[in-house]
């Protein structure tokens, strides 16, 4: 059993600059920030290292941080420019009974994060949902399609983004009340 700081030190030793920081000032558990295009190799290490053995990905969540600049677009709607989209990974080791939270942040305009689908199989649908709802692109994902919204839903329209605008019509059906 290891606490978050020990895990952070271990990761720092192994990966150096790819591990960005540890945020201990959170109401729940400490969060370790990782480079978005290094998360796959870090995940593999967390799963396979005998001192860590994180065999369970409890949850994978996509988040729109909405920390960019608010601008009005041509039609007068608020649009967010810049800032980041994040993915949070909640890991648990059923063998050693310790937990850790990882976070990766990618720029909003080109949000690319490595897929961990072949590390934890359950990430498959979680990543598809994060793609569907906030539009994070998971590199190397085997089947990155929308999972909840219809397949012919407008491209680049992600309903859980903070600046999402409900379309007027879908297949001839009026959507707003």
């Amino acid at each position: 059993m290891k606490n978050a700081e020990e895990i952070f030190e271990l990761l720092k030793q192994e990966f150096g600059d790819s591990i960005l920081s540890i945020d201990k000032d959170t109401p729940t558990e400490p969060i370790i920030s990782v480079e978005p295009l290094k998360i796959h190799i870090v995940s593999k290490f967390l799963r396979d290292n005998p001192e860590l053995q994180f065999d369970s990905l409890m949850c994978l969540s996509g988040v729109d941080d909405a920390n960019g600049k608010k601008v009005k677009d041509a039609e007068g709607y608020d649009v967010i420019e810049g800032g980041t989209l994040s993915v949070y990974y909640h890991l648990y080791s059923t063998v050693l009974r310790h937990k850790i939270t990882l976070k990766v942040s990618a720029p909003r305009e080109d949000a690319k994060v490595e897929s961990v689908e072949n590390v934890w199989k359950c990430a498959d649908w979680h990543e598809r949902e994060a793609f569907d709802m906030v539009g994070i692109v998971f590199v190397n994902h085997p089947d990155l399609r929308r999972i909840l919204m219809p397949y012919d839903w407008e491209e680049n329209s992600f309903p859980l983004r903070k600046d999402f605008k409900v379309p007027e019509f879908y297949q001839g059906m009026k959507i707003p009340y």
């Binding site: 909840l148 919204m149 219809p150 309903p159 999402f164 409900v166 879908y170 297949q171 059906m173 009026k174 959507i175 707003p176 009340y177």
Partner: protein, 163 residues
């Protein structure tokens, strides 16, 4: 009833209006499409089960649209489902009836403002005969809805469908 009023005294012969007879036959065996969408479907199933017993009014679930007479839209109609509902509706032979059950199917319910995925009322795609309010409606309310539908069928004319 009005149907058996004119029975001859020696029995065996009933004189009735063709319209009355057909309407009576229709309203007494409304087969609904076996179809449920959300939490309202649970209430609909409870209404079909022994406590409330839909079958005593002649309503049983039929698992093909081609032999069904009615469809109860029991729950939230998402945009994805709306396309399927429309297709099911088109497959039901005439005369066909629709009961819209619960707030979601009536007008979008709690999803009216932020429901980017919800159709605000099933009457935007198919014509509804009876609206049953509630969230979800009690089985009694759904039974009332069925009785209202039967009332509607009873007064139908052969020459034109009223709706």
């Amino acid at each position: 009833m009005g149907l058996l009023d004119k029975e001859f005294s020696d029995g065996n012969i009933v004189v009735a209006n063709v319209e009355d007879l057909l309407n009576w036959a229709r309203l007494s065996s409304v087969w609904q499409l076996g179809f449920g969408l959300a939490c309202c479907a649970i209430e609909m199933m409870a209404t079909s089960a022994s406590h409330y017993d839909f079958d005593r009014f002649g309503l049983i679930p039929r698992n093909t649209p081609r032999q069904a007479d009615a469809i109860i839209i029991s729950g939230t109609v998402t945009l994805k489902m709306a396309i399927r509902i429309k297709r099911l509706y088109e497959q039901i032979p005439d005369p066909k009836y629709i009961i819209s059950m619960g707030s979601c199917a009536n007008c979008g319910g709690p999803y009216w403002e932020h429901g980017y995925h919800v159709l605000k009322g099933v009457d935007r795609i198919i014509p509804v005969d009876v609206y049953v309010p509630g969230c979800p409606p009690r089985p009694e309310a759904l039974l009332e809805g069925l009785l209202k539908l039967q009332e509607k069928i009873r007064n139908e004319s052969l020459r034109k469908k009223q709706s």
